[in-house]
């Protein structure tokens, strides 16, 4: 058990030691380790997303009394791989009137930004790639850049549907970032740190979801909106905007967007687990298994919401953020502050 718990940490140390023994400087060894870590993240994310897409299709199928993909492999597990191959080999269509540079770079920017989110997540005890002191802030600020990618896609496509989708996504992301930050701030106030590992360790006795139920609910709503998932899937909104910002994309570029969306989904679910459900802490299993388990459970809730609820209207969405979520989160902050002050 002890070996399993520290398996990855030991492995990393062994690599560094090995490199140093081979006559490399400490800094060089660290850099090489960092590169290995990034490569691992990229691999894990890709495999994870293949599972995630399959899972979402299965879950949506089950909810809708269907079986979902069930032809390729047992229970259709290879369906996503087949789809990926199909998308990879598909012709890359770039409409003639697009802003070519922006159109081409938008999906790449989006995927890079969503991959950058993983840098600060502590996957286990001492298993963050970079254990940044300002981890939460980093996560939020890098996440906020995703808007630009959608904006680029919407503008570059030179399509009115895309532009409308991009405009929606901007309005939505800017409005929901504020309650998101305020909700997380309440947790940070209790933990007294912006470092994710510290926040997890502060939940040794009790999960923050019990200390901060209001913050959790507001955070969850804001996070759903930030992820552009139903019922807040404004930028995409098939039934209204055909495919919103993604209308003109096809083949691999389109797939990259979806890859990025699911990457974001897992990252935000992991953040939820870290901030409110004790992150990698848990009995029996090694710590690096607990975070994925919790994140997957949270993700199932995201799926469940999406496949049940109708899409909210744009103006209601904005009004809900500015008139309900922000006052509630602010009040929650005040209460939390007062309670913390008097407890000290």
């Amino acid at each position: 058990m002890k070996g399993a718990e520290t398996f990855f940490v030991d492995l990393a140390r062994a690599i560094v030691n090995g490199l140093e023994n081979m006559g490399m400087s400490a800094l060089g060894a660290e850099i090489i380790l960092l590169i290995i870590k990034f490569a691992c993240i990229a691999g894990i994310v890709t495999v994870n997303i293949i599972i995630l897409i399959w899972l979402e299709r299965k879950i949506s199928g089950f909810i809708q009394l269907r079986l979902g993909p069930n032809r390729l492999g047992p229970w259709g597990v290879f369906q996503t791989i087949a789809d990926a191959i199909k998308l990879l080999t598909k012709e890359d269509i770039i409409p003639s009137q697009t802003d070519k540079i922006i159109f081409r770079t938008a999906p790449i920017v989006f995927i890079i930004i969503s991959l950058m989110l993983y840098v600060v997540l502590p996957f286990g005890d001492g298993m963050a790639i970079v254990d940044l002191n300002l981890g939460v802030l980093y996560f939020i600020s890098v996440g906020s850049l995703g808007t630009i990618a959608l904006l680029m896609a919407g503008w570059g496509s030179n399509n009115k549907w895309s532009l409308l989708g991009a405009m929606r996504s901007v309005a939505q992301m800017i409005s929901y970032e504020i309650p998101l930050v305020f909700s997380l701030l309440a947790v940070v106030m209790i933990a007294g740190s912006l470092n994710m590992s510290d926040i997890v360790n502060a939940q040794d006795k009790i999960w923050f979801v019990f200390l901060q139920p209001v913050a959790f609910i507001t955070y969850f709503i804001a996070a759903t909106a930030e992820l552009n998932r139903g019922p807040f899937d404004m930028p995409e909104a098939e039934q209204e905007l055909t495919a919103g910002a993604y209308t003109e994309y096809s083949g691999m570029r389109w797939a990259l967007f979806f890859l990025a969306e699911y990457t974001n989904l897992f990252a935000v679910s992991a953040l939820t687990a870290i901030m409110f459900f004790g992150g990698f802490k848990g009995p029996f299993l090694p710590s690096w298994l607990w975070l994925p388990i919790k994140a997957y459970i949270i993700m199932l809730v995201f799926f469940w919401l999406k496949w049940t609820l109708p899409r909210i209207r744009m103006d209601h969405l904005m009004a809900f953020s500015w008139k309900v979520l922000i006052p509630v989160t602010l009040a929650n902050l005040v209460v939390t502050g007062c309670v913390l002050h008097f407890l000290k």
């Binding site: 089950f62 009394l65 269907r66 469940w304 919401l305 496949w307 609820l309």
Partner: protein
């Protein structure tokens, strides 16, 4: 209010998540078809008495056949029967019209075909050993004959029209009504001329106009001479 409706909805989807699935796994699991299911339209050629009711009843010209007579008994026999499935609306009208129940809908619903010709079903009953009368005549009642018949019909109608109301009928080939009247005077009761003009009017309007003009000029000349 206050999210209770949303929670109820979530409860319903959660309940269904665990329920038995309703979709049919098609190639393995065959759909249950009811006795009246209308699949592919089929013919039992042995029952066909070549009455042609089916062809008359069909709204969309799906059915066509060729026939012949037996040499001895003069009984009609089917030589070929074509069902062009791409136009079939499965309305059951032909089946109801068939007096001997020779037409019926099978339960076959897997129709995919790779060639356009495969969409048609052609029945060619085995007629060896039977001496057929006027098989060729029967066969000739195909496209060529039909077109000929149609043309003849049109010409006859045109002749009748010219005789009945010459001014109106002829105004199509000449420029004004006066000219039409004149033309009708010129034509008079000359059957052969009328027939010639009517034929041209049905088949080739431009030529008819030219001929009409020629008639007119000729008539004028005659008038001047006379």
């Amino acid at each position: 209010m206050w999210g209770s409706g949303i929670l109820k909805g979530l409860g319903i989807t959660f309940k269904h998540l665990w329920e038995r699935k309703i979709t049919e796994q098609y190639p393995e699991e065959r759909p249950k078809l009811y006795p009246r299911f209308r699949g592919r339209l089929m013919l039992n050629p042995e029952k066909c008495i070549v009455c042609g009711m089916c062809v008359k009843s069909c709204p969309n010209n799906v059915l066509s056949f060729t026939e012949a007579r037996l040499k001895e008994s003069k009984k009609k026999v089917l030589t070929s029967y074509t069902i062009d499935h791409q136009y079939c609306m499965f309305c059951n009208l032909c089946v109801e019209a068939c007096p001997t129940n020779g037409l019926y809908f099978s339960h076959d619903f897997e129709w995919a075909a790779f060639k356009r010709e495969d969409i048609k079903t052609v029945y060619e009953p085995d007629l060896t050993g039977l001496e057929l009368l006027a098989l060729e005549e029967g066969e000739k009642k195909s496209a060529e004959k039909e077109a000929e018949d149609k043309l003849l019909k049109g010409v006859n109608a045109m002749i009748a029209a010219i005789k009945k109301n010459p001014a109106r009928a002829l105004s199509k080939v000449v420029e004004s009504e006066e000219e039409a009247l004149k033309l009708s005077e010129i034509l008079g009761d000359d059957e052969s001329k009328i027939k010639k003009l009517a034929e041209l009017m049905v088949s080739d309007k431009e030529k008819a106009a030219k001929v009409a003009k020629a008639f007119l000029i000729k008539g004028q000349k005659k008038e001047q001479e006379g």
